[in-house]
Symmetry: D2
Subunit: 151 residues, 4 copies
């Protein structure tokens, strides 16, 4: 039987500034160093930064893509999944993980947070939506520690 790794989502916007990009990359690195697998939407911005940090630390990154083509994944995705179901794929990300870290983000991130809470998945956030249930933290370290402990 294969050893199961924890699966942690990083959710956030396709576009982000340098500060959030750096934090997402750090989150990705710490997820990999914590022995967990990173799951995300597989695209640019926060998703790319997190995947980059995780693969630089030798981790595995799963990109649940909205589109039809695995080549739509950012270059640090190791396992691209071409769902072809558009943004309905946000539900799959939330179903698959045991904890999520939200970093920044717009309405796409909001739909993922909402799905997480429907499925009982805790969400830890850095500068993201102020929604009832989200636990806000300051640092990448704190976000990953809480996700690994509660996921």
């Amino acid at each position: 039987m294969t050893e199961k790794k924890k699966m942690i989502a990083v959710i956030g916007g396709r576009d982000c500034d340098e500060t959030l990009y750096r934090q997402a990359r750090e989150v990705g690195r710490l997820i990999a160093e914590g022995g967990a697998m990173l799951v995300c939407g597989g695209r640019t911005g926060i998703m790319e930064a997190a995947c980059r940090g995780a693969t630089e630390a030798g981790g595995t990154t799963v990109g649940i893509l909205p589109g039809n083509d695995i080549n739509g994944a950012n270059e640090w995705v190791t396992i691209p999944i071409a769902t072809g179901i558009g943004l309905a794929r946000n539900s799959i990300i939330a179903r698959t993980v045991s904890a999520a870290i939200a970093i920044g983000g717009q309405y796409g991130t909001l739909s993922e947070i909402a799905y997480c809470f429907q499925y009982g998945v805790p969400v830890f956030a850095i500068q993201s939506w102020e929604i009832n249930g989200v636990e806000h933290v300051e640092t990448a370290e704190e976000a990953v520690r809480l996700a690994l402990e509660n996921g």
Copy 2:
């Protein structure tokens, strides 16, 4: 060529109190009287109330169900669609309509509001989530008038 009716979503919780139930029923009635078609998740609570009001006024109600069986629809759904894709169906509701009315609701409603904004669909709300972009109103009349004008 068939005449296309406007399609308006009513989104809200599976459970609701009497006051919101009454308002949702009134919203359903006004959508039908306004010549539009009601689209919803097809289940209980706010969805049932809106379908009830619409069919009582002679309207058509589309229920985009999460489950595998059209018999999971409430009794006032005239067109049940058994998506079998679970809550990922929330994306389909938002894609299909030109405006949405949110009434109360929990995280499911939140994911639908988020999808609406991703797809450029305006959301009018009665006692629902305070999310940037949502236009809050007091009455069923105002919600339906705005949805028909902006949808």
Copy 3:
């Protein structure tokens, strides 16, 4: 409580010749005259022909579209559903109906036939796939009679 109509799928190719187009239109007309609702993929070819026949006879036609926009429906769809989930929507069509009529068709039609049998939905066919379980008939009349009796 609203009266529930039977829901019958017509499945077939986006492209078709004049003979199959005529038969699909006749199938659509007979479904409407039989008091059932027509469900299809909402696009061109066989789907368009069936919707045309049904709406010309005063029936209701549901188009479960692969794309993001209800304007992608053919002009004889009365209820367009923009799933945005691509060809995964073929599963929704099969889930929603109690019988299906296949007319011609390529691999898309084959996936719909396969889904129908997974969900226990009988399939009657005019010049379509020779798959174990499909009941082949010669005429639109026979296809619709069997679909209404067994659906």
Copy 4:
């Protein structure tokens, strides 16, 4: 940038006899030894056998599950994805891979073969559906060799 591995699907029934189980396990082993990643539906029967062979050879196995829970995966899945979209997930498997190997199977396998051809993915088969386009082979070696060459 991460090195992209080829992704090869193994599709087949939830139930299978000993002979097919052995062949699927061999197919899984050869996929892993060929440096490719195995993608499947994540469940029992052929899917389990293929995952088992692949993980025994040190490979990575992706299970695109129909249900809501990653614990529904067989024990040899290393990357479980809980789609929650039921059998509509068959489309995701076909979208994600560059070649597929069908082993035995019923209507679920048929829908996956159909999706593969819609998406231009070649299908090699061992004792599976006789569908136009499927290339039938006798051995696991031949199936995997062709999948790796054409995928």
